[in-house]
Amino acid sequence: MEIAVAGSEEFVLGFRLAGIRKAVGAAPEELERAVDALLEDEDVGILVLRSDEMAGLSAGLRRRLEVVPQPVVIAVGGAEEEDLRTKVKRAIGVDLFRTT
């Protein structure tokens, strides 16, 4: 299995340097289609996206990224994800990510 990266050309270039072959550089309007194609690819084990670009995806696709068993989707370039924070708050009852 492989790691795949999708995002702007600038974002994926560095990952290409690390040897990642499935690094898809896409313009914001093309990103959804690129992510969709990578989700269908059975050879992709981990899908790396940039946090702010992931937040810009449609709600349906973001939900799919959360629940899809494979690939494991991970956002890079931001601190804690907001949806994870909300989930933790709902499950535990306390906002564990609060810093102040």
């Binding site: 492989e2 270039l13 990952f15 290409r16 340097l17 690390a18 040897g19 494979q70 994870l84 989930k87």
Partner: protein, 208 residues
């Protein structure tokens, strides 16, 4: 559950008591499971926060090094070096079971490479590209660790929420309703018994 659905009979009373006992046992076990999941979650959370903060730092560092390499070598130079790479990181995805939850276990190979394994010539490229490539390899290593930990955390949270909902449903709805039903049948049976005794007394009086 509607009380009228139950016939006030002895066998129904025994059946309700049995169900109530089962519900109480289930409630106790689910509470234990919830607590165990919470302990596991807090252990994973600590590691997840650590890895997440590593990723933030490493990404900034790697992006900075890439910007320097692009500024000095030009984007074309960096891009051509990236296309020359021969080895790609290989992943092996298996699963493991944490208290009934299936979580991924990821093993990676060929993430960190020696300079001569990267595929682009040593002479043709500058140390800035090497530094950027090394920084991104480190980032990819952390991303692999984070992918495993964050997915485990997500699945644990989902399971905690599910177990919590079940515990609450048993505690606030199922068990109180079963207790009400049990009380209703018990009182109705006692009432019927009293009616019977009274009827027998009346028969006895009428016969005397």
């Amino acid at each position: 559950m509607v009380l009228a659905e139950y016939k006030p009979t002895r066998s129904q009373l025994l059946q309700v008591r049995k169900t109530l006992k089962l519900a109480e046992r289930g409630h106790r076990l689910l509470k234990l499971k919830r607590d165990a999941l919470m302990i596991e979650f807090f252990q994973v959370l600590e590691r997840a926060r650590e890895v997440r903060s590593n990723i933030v730092d490493r990404y900034q560092d790697a992006a900075g090094k890439l910007a320097v390499a692009s500024a000095i070598e030009g984007r074309v130079g960096v891009r051509s070096a990236s296309h020359a790479l021969l080895q790609k990181p290989e992943l092996e995805l298996t699963t493991r079971n944490v208290m009934g939850i299936v979580v991924p276990k990821i093993k990676a190979e060929k993430v960190r490479k020696r300079i001569d394994e990267r595929g682009y010539g040593i002479i043709g490229t500058s140390p800035r590209i090497d530094a950027a490539a090394e920084a991104y390899e480190e980032l990819v290593e952390d991303v692999i660790v984070a992918a495993e930990i964050e997915t485990t955390m997500r699945r644990l949270i989902e399971e905690i929420e599910k177990v919590k909902r079940r515990v609450n449903a048993l505690e606030h709805r199922v068990i109180p309703e079963l207790e009400d039903t049990e009380r209703f049948i018990r009182l109705r049976l006692e009432e019927m018994e009293r009616e019977n005794i009274f009827r027998l007394k009346r028969f006895k009086e009428a016969g005397a």
